[in-house]
């Protein structure tokens, strides 16, 4: 993203004058605070920073950032952000979305913006529920979720957001919990520096409609999380256990001392990344941090390049010439053709 001149900014500078309208105890507060703090530390230019969201509790986010912001319509934030970034590559464009906004109604735009690698920083608040519409199950809700629209339990198999993002060809895929400000901050900073589409799954708690859905993982970080570190083995349970690739390419939990324990690299192969994506509750601890990161030309840069090339090749557009293209003839004073 645009190399920001280091300014002395404080978190306060990133706070808008609007009252925050989330429920008390909502995980969104922590994410908001971390984003504000991180951008302040990075010393971004407020005027060059834009937050674009869809519709949902999470999508109220832009109102609370003292930057440019656009609270759009349900599921379409990636399209609006794409149009902005393609025409204004000078801006830092962030997208805020939810598991319903970004994966249900907005799923198509999500996979296409990721495959195009538009230089957008997408943060998906995954609370496994539709908060704003009062608690229906979402595409990430576990099978059997009892919600107003599924009183006897949901029956569709949930999406794995990470697997989907990888399947779509994302170039930067990460995961963090709303309760882990430190990791969130680290990921946000890396995301900010990545040139290309960023997909961050934020595990967020909705105390009102889906309270504690991530508690298993949050309450036992040692046992249920693998905090990824470049070049470090995939170990957890205080370094006692690890993950290896078992027979038939099935991921397995093994002893940390096992020589087969996999070593993490953000720049790993697509196959390795898909293995990380398969590590989900309850059978496995979940990898937290940056799972996958690769550099690929961005759509916005290529689009601008094509314009530059055209100008270099054909010279800057000349309207008169353009008008005269095709078959042109003159009619003289006598009104007939010459």
């Amino acid at each position: 993203m645009s190399d920001a001149v280091k300014l002395k900014l404080s978190k306060k500078d990133l706070e808008s004058d609007q009252d925050v309208r989330w429920c008390p105890g909502c995980g969104d507060y922590a994410i908001l605070a971390t984003v504000q703090r991180t951008l302040a530390q990075l010393g971004v230019k407020r005027e060059n920073t834009v937050f674009i969201s869809g519709i949902g509790c999470s999508s109220r986010f832009p109102y609370y950032m003292n930057t440019y912001g656009f609270h759009t319509i349900h599921g379409r934030a990636p399209t609006i952000a794409s149009g902005l970034k393609i025409t204004r590559p000078d801006l830092d464009v962030w997208v805020i979305t939810g598991d319903g906004d970004g994966l249900s109604i907005g799923g198509n735009h999500m996979i296409h913006v990721l495959r195009r690698n538009v230089d957008l920083k997408i943060i998906l608040f995954n609370n496994q529920i539709y908060g704003l519409t009062k608690g229906q199950y979402s595409p990430t809700s576990a099978v059997g979720t009892r919600a107003p629209s599924t009183p006897t339990g949901s029956i569709d198999h949930p999406l794995n957001p990470i697997a989907l993002a990888l399947g779509a060809g994302a170039t930067f895929v990460a995961r963090a919990a709303d309760t882990d400000a430190k990791l969130m901050g680290k990921i946000l900073e890396q995301a900010y520096r990545h040139k290309g589409a960023v997909f961050i799954e934020m595990l967020q708690n909705c105390p009102v409609f889906n309270d504690g859905v991530w508690d298993g993982l949050k309450d036992d970080p040692a046992g249920k999380q693998i905090v990824l570190a470049e070049g470090k083995p995939l170990v957890f349970a205080n370094g006692t256990k690890g993950i290896k690739l078992g027979a038939g390419m099935v991921p397995e939990i093994c002893d940390a001392s096992d020589p087969g324990v996999l070593v993490h690299t953000e720049q790993g192969s697509a196959v390795y990344a898909s293995l990380l994506a398969q590590l989900v509750q309850p059978d496995f601890p979940m990898p937290m941090g940056v799972l996958y990161r690769h550099d690929k030309p961005t759509y916005d840069a290529l689009a601008q390049q094509q314009v530059a090339d055209a100008i270099a090749k054909q010279g800057p557009g000349d309207l008169a010439k353009l008008m005269y293209s095709g078959m042109v003839w003159e009619v003289g004073a006598d009104g007939t053709r010459h």
Binding site: T67, G83, Y324, V328
Partner: protein, 623 residues
Amino acid sequence: METKQLDRVVIRFAGDSGDGMQLTGSEFAKAAAEAGNDISTFPDFPAEIRAPAGSLFGVSGFQLHFSSSEIYTPGDAPDVLVCMNPAALKTNLRDLVDGGTLIINTGAFIEANLKKASYTTNPIEDGSLDKWKVHAIDISQLTMAALDGSELTNKEKGRAKNFFALGLVFWMYGRETEQEIRRIHQQFAKNPAFGEANVKVFKAGYHYGETAEVFQTVYKVPPATFAPGMYRNITGNEAIALGLVVGAELAGKKLFYSGYPITPASSILHSLAKYKNFGVVTFQAEDEIAAIGAAIGGAFGGAIAVTASSGPGIALKGEAIGLGVMTELPLVIVNVQRGGPSTGLPTKTEQSDLYQAIYGRNGESPIPVLAAKSPGDTFYCAIEAVKIATRYMVPVMLLSDGYLANGSEPWPLPNLAALPRFDVHHRTDPDNYFVYQRDPNTLARDWVVPGTPGLEHRIGGIEKDALTGNISYAPDNHEKQTKVRAEKVARIAQDIGELDLAGAPSGDVLVIGWGGTYGSLRQAQQALGAQGKRVSHAHLRWLSPIEPGLAKIIHNFKRVLVAELNMGQLRTMLRAEFLVDAIGLNKIQGQPFKVREVIAAVEDLLGATTAETTAAVHQAEAF
């Protein structure tokens, strides 16, 4: 061999979608234009890319009207019909004028093809064509002969036969061949063998005309007289693309076009994608919603943002247009209409998306709507759409249709220097900036773009406070904002020019039309006027707000006839607006109006005798 002079000719080429009729037609149109005739064309092709040879639904046609006087339409009925196969004959013969000339490729009238066209007997032999001047020529065979000894496969040779037909009509109308021969070579530069072959066959066709006994006369259509100046041929979609580029230039901004392919709108994207050196950025989105979403994002960032589609795609944009209305961002939405509902008749023309343009969104979400009247007019409409969108900070809908999009006409090149600029100003002054503070005249809010220090703000789809732009659920504020959004559109009237009226501002019948029907309606009015009938024609460019000029005259006529290629959508709007008992002339056949249909309807209102009607029709043809 006599030479006969004609004022005007309507010729139609018809054959398989694979027979290259579109090419033949447009080449002959160019020749006519080069010869100084006024021309108007009407391509008419099937939805299938290349339907199986010989099938009825696979017939592709191209009609050309060329004349030594001004013309407005591609003509009601062909004087000359070229049929490359039985299916083409079957589907087109009914349109040929009695006594008209019929050129048939007998080579294609074999058992199999006749069956596909459900002919039980061969029409060439069963006398069913007696009332026409028939020229039965084995074009297939003559083409082969012309290419005797060439390297090409027989299949490839066969493909050249349309150039035989082209050469033949070149001779019939005494057209210059050098130009055409040069063009053929250019077109096939990548594949000289084909170019060579096509030229050979073209010449063969020409010489066949010369030498064969069959043609007793050569026809001459002298050049028409035009206003002096530079001209080019242009189709509606080409002209829209040019208009958008020029519009952005006049606004002093860059153009961003975001679309998803759909017939008949796709070629706007195709044209603009070639204009990258004008700083134009084009984006082929994953669907129509993404297309308008990206356009809205571009508008937020300060681009002249445009999206285009056709009916079904526009339906998908409805929700996002509402976001544009609420956030008051400038946007141009082009609808190149086609036959509906649903997928309908994708390659045919219709005007049935007017309701959708005016009313097709949730909530109170009025937007300005204008419609182009001719291929060349789309250029000026595009510029006007850009101007109004940026001046009033509002999404503007521009209506075109399949007939305008693909049809072409000689177009006087605009004097660019004379086009007034309307440079856009982005506010940068942070002192007491309020996001929804409005210009007292246009009611537009400031267009502040990201990147401007000190003006950071947030917008969105929830109702906004009338001054600060913060979310507001206040009852009075919502009513106020709703009324301002409506008033803003109403005020555009102050930027709308004179009503396009032909005939007196009062009389017996006022024919009201909009969009692509202009040519037929105007020609009908002139014919009737010449007959001394008190008939006028008002053609609306602006549909929302409704042309202010109309209110002044609509009550001055005994009868009001609203002619549309739909079931009466504008008629409904005008009845509500003016409480006038307007009646409708409506055609829903995927085809433009014939001038005679319009004349008949008006005469009907005038209670005319058929004698008079025919007189007027001849009058019309005399134009």
